[in-house]
């Protein structure tokens, strides 16, 4: 074990985040605030309740997840892609660190950032609408799990990407659309068939539903299905990363 080496990477990543605080925290918080203004206050006041909850409050958990999903993928993929791009990765590769330690350090830092970002977003939301959290511990635990899953996904993307375009592909063309259609803005039950059934093929629906349940105690899908989705969100990218390190190893020639 090389805990000092892991800490060095973790600190490095956190320092990078602090340097770009504007881009990594202020921008997503501002975007979320705009969502609350537009959907929560302006449109929401004309909307009826959603699943028995005031519309402005209803969208809070989903909007938090929206920024967590996109920022986790963006942050973690960039964190590993950039040293690959500039060549400074040589130092990481020549260090006495196991692949698992390397992944844990980068992903651990990315998860910390996403976690803090979520809490800041939540605080921002509380300025605009009424928010209550029925299961605070589970809310934090689910947040951590979802952030971990998408940071691992981001790491995987950064590992595989050969250029900036590929780095952007999954976040822009997969994660964001699925998140928007993932029940952030509406309860799945309000959709007409066949869209209700189609929506259930979107994995993000399960994450949003479970997370919203920790706030208001209402869910679109059974809680067990949400927990299973979170477990898969962590497991699948983790297995893919392990497989890459075991076979080809994308970082080394």
């Amino acid at each position: 074990m090389n805990p000092r080496g892991m800490l060095a990477i973790y600190r490095f990543e956190m320092a990078r985040w602090k340097r770009t605080l504007w881009q990594s925290v202020v921008a997503p918080v501002l975007t979320t605030a705009l969502y609350f203004l537009v959907f929560g206050s302006a449109i929401g006041s004309r909307m009826s309740d959603m699943a028995g909850i005031d519309y402005g409050s209803f969208i809070v958990p989903g909007l938090i997840l929206l920024s967590v999903l996109t920022q986790s993928v963006a942050n973690a993929s960039f964190g590993i892609y950039f040293p690959k791009f500039t060549g400074t990765i040589y130092e990481i590769l020549s260090a006495p660190l196991s692949p698992l330690e390397t992944v844990a350090s980068y992903v651990g830092a990315a998860v910390t950032k996403s976690f803090l970002l979520a809490l800041i977003t939540l605080a921002t939301a509380a300025l605009f609408v009424e928010v209550r959290v029925e299961h605070p511990l589970l809310m934090l635990a689910f947040l951590l799990a979802i952030a971990a899953g998408f940071c691992l996904l981001g790491f995987l993307i950064g590992l595989l990407a050969d250029n900036f375009e590929q780095l952007q592909f999954v976040p822009l063309l997969v994660v964001t659309p699925l998140a928007f259609l993932g029940g952030i803005f509406y309860a799945v039950g309000t959709l007409a068939e066949p869209w209700r059934t189609v929506t259930l093929f979107n994995p993000i629906v399960y994450l949003v539903s479970g997370y919203r349940w920790t706030f208001y105690g209402v869910a679109d899908v059974p809680l067990g299905a949400s927990v299973a989705a979170m477990a898969l969100a962590i497991l699948l990218p983790l297995l893919a990363i392990a497989w890459i390190f075991r076979t080809g190893h994308r970082l080394k020639q």
């Binding site: 600190r11 500039t86 590769l93």
Partner: protein
């Protein structure tokens, strides 16, 4: 005692390039070893495999007895690397980037050591500067500081003096000598043969992924060293006379100079016989000099031999 032991090292890159074709090499503790070779010979590949940056295709590498794959942690802790390319984190400060490397290699924080290191490399004044504010030479010093941040026993310098001014080069060699005095083993690659000749205890010549010569400098020169006898003629010759065709002779300087190449180790150099034959042919001369082939000559002849085959 050897500190690096390379056996049958083969590297085939994905594209199919066979960069190393079975290299055997042992490097002794505390020595300065120079790896010489033309572009694309496989120098960087060899170093990168030992340091863990590139995976090997076959063979084995041990660092102080530890296998670089099964005991990679122990092996890597001992090694510091200054890569050929200057790659740095533009927004980090000098101090932070050097401290980062120390931590990365699992060493406890030691500000006093880093201070001494930065002062030794005349970087102390720049410790709060970000990398992007530094000149190329300064960056290279930082790369050296990073490589030494975890007090390695072995230092790899991949073309340390490429694009470096005279002063920095002198500083660098002073540092290398000081490190060697502390017992650090140093392996460097260079295109400047004078440097290898001046600095190294032993020299290996690599070409096309094969080690074609290896030895201490004196051995290498004796093994491959040929002398040249330069004969300055009274009158220029248009061509070599027929009777001298059996000799290894070249005309130089527009026919005013005759160069005779001979093996310095041979029982008989043939010089007296050559001089007699020159007399008989009526070729007059006014002066002579002999010259030992430098490492450069050896190097060039080895590389040429490869191109011809």
């Amino acid at each position: 005692m050897s500190v690096i032991d390379i056996r049958g090292l083969v590297k085939a890159y994905k594209g199919g390039t066979l960069a190393l074709k079975g290299v055997d090499l042992s490097i002794g503790k505390g020595e300065i070893f120079a790896l010489l070779g033309p572009n694309g010979a496989g120098k960087t590949t060899l170093i990168s495999i030992v340091c863990g940056i590139v995976t090997k295709t076959a063979g084995s590498v041990r660092v102080a007895g530890d296998d670089i794959e099964t005991d990679y942690r122990a092996a890597r802790r001992r090694i510091g690397l200054v890569p050929q390319e200057l790659t740095t984190d533009a927004f980090e400060t000098v101090w932070d980037t050097v401290a980062f490397t120390r931590g990365l290699f699992g060493c406890a924080r030691d500000d006093a050591y880093l201070e001494r290191l930065l002062k030794r490399l005349t970087l102390w004044e720049k410790r709060h500067s970000r990398m992007l504010e530094l000149s190329g030479g300064m960056k290279r010093r930082v790369m050296i500081a990073k490589a030494l941040a975890h007090e390695p026993e072995i230092l790899f310098l991949d073309e340390p003096t490429a694009g470096v001014d005279v002063e920095l080069r002198r500083d660098m060699w002073a540092l290398v000598r000081a490190l060697r005095a502390d017992g650090t083993t140093i392996i460097l690659t260079t295109h400047y043969i004078e440097e290898a000749e001046e600095m190294a205890d032993r020299v290996g010549v690599i070409r096309g992924g094969e080690l074609v010569a290896l030895g201490n400098k004196a051995e290498l020169m004796a093994q491959l060293g040929r002398r040249t006898l330069k004969i300055f003629l009274d009158a220029p010759l248009a061509a070599l006379p027929e009777r001298l065709h059996g000799w290894d002779l070249d005309l130089a300087d527009g026919g005013r100079e005759l160069d005779y190449h001979f093996d310095s180790k041979a029982e008989e150099t043939g010089i007296p016989r050559l001089m007699r034959q020159l007399d008989e042919a009526g070729i007059g001369w006014r002066d002579l000099t002999t010259r030992q082939s430098s490492l450069e000559d050896i190097f060039v002849s080895l590389v040429r031999a490869g191109d011809a085959s």
